[in-house]
Symmetry: C2
Subunit: 117 residues, 2 copies
């Protein structure tokens, strides 16, 4: 992953955004939108750049679906952030989707390089 050029992933993220977010929230215990954008970019070494127009609606949806629980927190300086936590059903879904992700990449790689015959 030497010369990773960000920005040229036509639609690869599609359908995976929610898992990425769920996984992040779950692992970080509690986090908020803006931080997730930065964290995803950082962890992926600049490759994955989630856009605000993507993740805020996605976070909304996760919460509406009951997979996360959001909560406004006020900072000392008056700024506010919406912190999220993964719910129980969110964790179930996360495990499920992580398994699907595994299967999916395995399947694609099998198409690229079929094993035996």
């Amino acid at each position: 992953m030497e010369n990773m050029q960000a920005g040229y992933l036509p639609d690869l993220l599609r359908g995976n955004t929610d898992i990425l977010l769920l996984s992040l929230i779950d692992e970080m215990g509690s986090t908020y939108g803006y931080q997730m954008i930065k964290e995803i970019e950082k962890r992926s070494r600049g490759f994955l750049q989630c856009k605000e127009g993507t993740i805020y609606p996605a976070l909304r949806k996760l919460e509406n679906d009951g997979l996360t629980k959001g909560e406004w927190r006020e900072l000392p300086n008056g700024q506010r952030r919406r912190y999220y936590q993964v719910t129980t059903s969110g964790q179930t879904m996360l495990a499920k989707k992580l398994a699907i992700w595994q299967d999916f990449t395995t399947a694609v790689n099998l198409v690229f390089k079929p094993v035996n015959t």
Copy 2:
């Protein structure tokens, strides 16, 4: 990938269909739509099920973009198939997209399990 359940890949294929097709055509030397559907399903052990409504337009697009070259062939019994081959620019694109696919999966896995700090 034991209990792979086909049919539940919301949008995972999205953005990857063209690479899958390009890769298949390239490797098989020459092939046609219907066969590709079957081959993808076979190689992925039933996990990836490309729909006709997906691949025929996709094949059309690949050809329009000059990445493949199509040709009608008539069978002895009068049936016709459209066989495709990868063009030179198609191979360039294929190599490029395979690299992107690698980077992408690596990046996603890094988000799931970040390395050191």
